[in-house]
Amino acid sequence: MTDTQYDRAPGDASALPDVEQGTSSGVLVYTIGLALAVVLTAMSFWAANTSLLWAGGVSLGLTVLAIAQMGVHLVFFLHVTTGPDNTNNVMALAFGVLIVALVVVGSLLIMADLNDNMMPAAELMNLQMQH
């Protein structure tokens, strides 16, 4: 009952296949990811504080920047690829994104709708929302 006997699944390779791939390319991938993430983060902070942009569009811009940075993290840090090993991961991710979008967008829509429709007087509704 040695560890190696019971520890290995039928298809498991004895050594990690990417050991000999060379770490310099790996470092490069992480460094590119870090640089992109830093640029996107800096843009987010700049967009939130500048008065150059139309104020109404800033929150939409921030959302787009956050989505872009999420993509950068997924590709460069979490290594989500289009390879055959990753098909299941991508499908699960797509499902997760669907659920997250349903929960967030659905909640916001329903609550905004409630605020609009169940408002006998704006002041009264504000009072209720504030407690």
Binding site: G26, G33, H131
Partner: protein, 211 residues
């Protein structure tokens, strides 16, 4: 000529077998997939808290709002710490891949210190808010804020404990297959926390200051 092409094609098919022809997936891939499912369920939980926060942003009950409470400098520092720790965590995975003990310990140490610095900044921010009477019981907005940011902070704390345990395992057991898979899960967890933080600083801190 045609035969040669056919043989060529066959050889190419053999070189890149499809997922079903390759037989059972390596255990490392199965473990990564399972942990990925857990991470996605965790993110779905976060999305519910995010939705609650977004709904309650303006429910300040006459108390302080985001614009008065949030300090952008501290948020930028926290973001820098977490991003840098994500990078060093990636470098740690590379060091594990090439079995370099010293580099693994060094990168794990830097990751731990940056994560702890992030937590310290966050605790200082929370303490400052509670000191001026803006605790979680002040308004629905602040309850949602402390739940959301605190939940992320708890995840980071759990990650730090996990990292310390993993380094002890590396020291005692060495780079066994089981230890390596656990380290893979840890790095997935740490990078996923950074994705949650991206949304957090965008939705809570930057958009909160806008309005």
């Amino acid at each position: 000529m045609n035969v040669a092409v056919a043989v060529d094609d066959e050889a190419r098919y053999e070189a890149v077998p499809s997922a079903s022809e390759a037989g059972p997936a390596a255990k490392r891939i199965v473990v990564g997939y399972g942990f990925w499912i857990f991470l996605l369920s965790d993110i779905v939980m976060f999305s519910a808290i995010f939705a609650a926060y977004a709904v309650l942003t303006h429910a300040t009950a006459g108390g302080p709002g985001g614009g008065q409470l949030f300090s952008q400098r501290s948020v930028a520092l926290e973001t820098g710490c977490l991003l840098a720790s994500s990078y060093t965590c990636g470098l740690m995975s590379l060091a594990i891949g090439s079995r370099r003990y010293a580099a693994t310990y060094l990168m794990a140490l830097i990751t731990f210190v940056l994560g702890a610095a992030f937590l310290a900044l966050e605790v200082r921010e929370f303490a400052g808010m509670i000191a001026i009477g803006a605790g979680p019981q002040r308004s629905a907005f602040l309850s949602a804020f402390f739940t959301l940011v605190g939940c992320h902070g708890l995840h980071v704390t759990a990650g730090l404990v996990w990292l310390a345990v993993m380094m002890a395992q590396v020291a005692i057991k060495g780079f066994r297959a089981t230890v390596e898979r656990r380290l893979l899960c840890f790095s997935l967890f740490w990078h996923a926390l950074d994705i949650v933080w991206v949304w957090l600083f965008t939705v809570v801190y930057l958009m909160g200051v806008l309005s």
